[in-house]
């Protein structure tokens, strides 16, 4: 299956400048999608997740518009043709 990942501009540079990246995950969960993304773009992958695989604290990931944190985290089901959006959360100083 194919999933479209939407990236903010600051991360798009790590995917060749493209804010819309298509990945073909090996499975049907958000974790599989992020694995596929990291496999192709390792630097991008570790901006989103730390080395334990957890999504970084101030990174939000949405699957078809729903915040994955409240829908199963990395186990959130992802359908063929889904849209996964990565956004920085409200943080800073």
């Amino acid at each position: 299956m194919t999933v479209q990942v939407l990236l903010p501009g600051v991360l798009a540079t790590l995917a060749g400048g493209d804010k819309h990246v298509h990945v073909e995950p090996a499975g049907t969960t958000l974790g599989d999608v992020l694995d596929a993304l990291a496999s192709e773009h390792p630097m991008l992958g570790r901006r989103i997740r730390d080395e334990t695989g957890q999504v970084r604290r101030f990174v939000n990931v949405y699957v078809d518009g729903d915040d994955a944190r409240f829908n199963g985290g990395l186990a959130t089901p992802v359908r063929d043709g889904a849209e996964v959006q990565v956004l920085p959360s409200v943080a800073g100083g």
Partner: protein, 360 residues
């Protein structure tokens, strides 16, 4: 001859240069804008000096970056220079220290990090291996985080042997005599005010350690209350705080050439992390801590900022230059061992780390 001062701040890195014998400085930056640079180092052992920076991309995590053209371009390892092995279950939180080893070990760079961990690179800092000997130490689970987080923040490889001395907050001083395989705590005499036992074997909140010019056995420690000296590689420590206006503070810096000479910047206390009376001052000893002299020409009164543990350093000129930055974004330099200071920069973000180097 150019003198370079790398200034790591909470929101980027600046490089100050002096081409007139450290009299005047020009500021170049920001580099790595908006990234926290808590650790910085200039590795002059290479054909082109390498600036190493331990950075935190706000939202996107920490890593080590490096520049071989003085900030013109920056590089990072695709997979992260510091990456906890899977079996540890840990994730890098912050790089606190980057320390090139001796010229005899030209590609070796050490890193101290949070959570408590020590790392060793053999490729100039582009990738690091976890020092398992420390990670597997039975004390590790009892090392607690201080206010800034639990980290190895000081790494002192001995250029003449396989000894490595580290300091942690909290945890204290640990020493390995075999390059990092086996470690023992060396804190006897260093006091604790935040636990029931004032003199535990380990667990101290040692803020910084510096090595005396005479050799690796004499050490100075700025503690979370208390300034101490060891003459036996940390086996025992004695207070050298008499004569200081306060014994709290973060950095301690030693002379690279003159034994017995070291500098501290006192703050009132842990609950009042400001210079005594608002007078930002450096204190210098010429006799290994027996006496201290206040140095303040060129430094401000009415200053209620603080100097962090890595925001104070010395250069390696015969007449030692000193450099420090404050949390209110000012950087001061002295070309005469602290007798007088001049302002290098102001209005920067909080200064977290400074390192000086001489470039050919």
């Amino acid at each position: 001859m150019t003198d370079l001062l790398a200034i790591g701040t909470r929101k980027g890195l600046w490089l100050a240069r002096s081409d007139d014998g450290r009299r005047t400085w020009t500021l170049d930056g920001p580099h790595l804008l908006a990234q926290e640079v808590a650790a910085v180092s200039v590795d002059t052992r290479r054909s082109s000096p390498r600036v190493l920076a331990g950075i935190q991309y706000g939202h996107w995590g920490p890593t080590v970056m490096w520049s071989d053209d003085l900030g013109g371009t920056w590089n990072e390892n695709d997979h992260g220079a510091i990456r906890f092995p899977e079996d540890t279950g840990a994730a890098l939180a912050r790089v606190w220290q980057l320390r090139p080893d001796s010229p005899d070990r030209p590609d070796v760079v050490w890193a101290g990090a949070e959570p408590h961990s020590l790392w060793r690179s053999t490729d100039g800092g582009s990738s690091f291996d976890l020092v398992r000997g420390l990670h597997d130490h039975p004390h590790r689970s009892t090392w607690q985080p201080g206010g800034g987080g639990g980290a190895v923040h000081t790494v002192l490889p001995d250029p003449g042997s396989d000894r490595v001395t580290i300091a942690m907050s909290t945890g204290g001083v640990y020493v390995s005599d075999d390059g990092g395989e086996r470690w023992e705590p060396r804190n006897k005499g260093i006091t604790v005010v935040f636990g029931p036992d004032p003199l535990p074997e380990y667990g101290q909140c040692v803020h910084k350690v510096a090595v005396d010019a005479a050799g690796p056995d004499r050490l100075y420690a700025q503690n979370h209350f208390g300034v101490f000296r060891s003459d036996d590689a940390g086996v025992s420590w004695s207070s050298i705080a008499d004569g200081l206006p306060a014994d709290f503070g973060f950095p301690v810096v030693s002379s690279p050439h003159t034994s017995g000479t070291a500098w501290v910047i006192p703050l009132v206390a842990d609950m009042q992390r400001v210079p005594p009376g608002g007078r930002l001052r450096v204190h210098r000893t010429r006799d290994a801590g027996a006496t201290w002299t206040e140095l303040g020409e060129g430094l401000p009164d009415g200053n209620w900022s603080a100097v962090m543990r890595d925001a104070f350093c010395a250069d390696d000129h015969q007449q030692t230059g000193l450099y420090f930055g404050t949390r209110d974004g000012c950087v001061y330099a002295s070309a005469d061992e602290g007798d007088t200071f001049t302002l290098v920069a102001d209005h920067l973000p909080d200064v977290l780390a400074v390192r000086a180097a001489r470039l050919a």
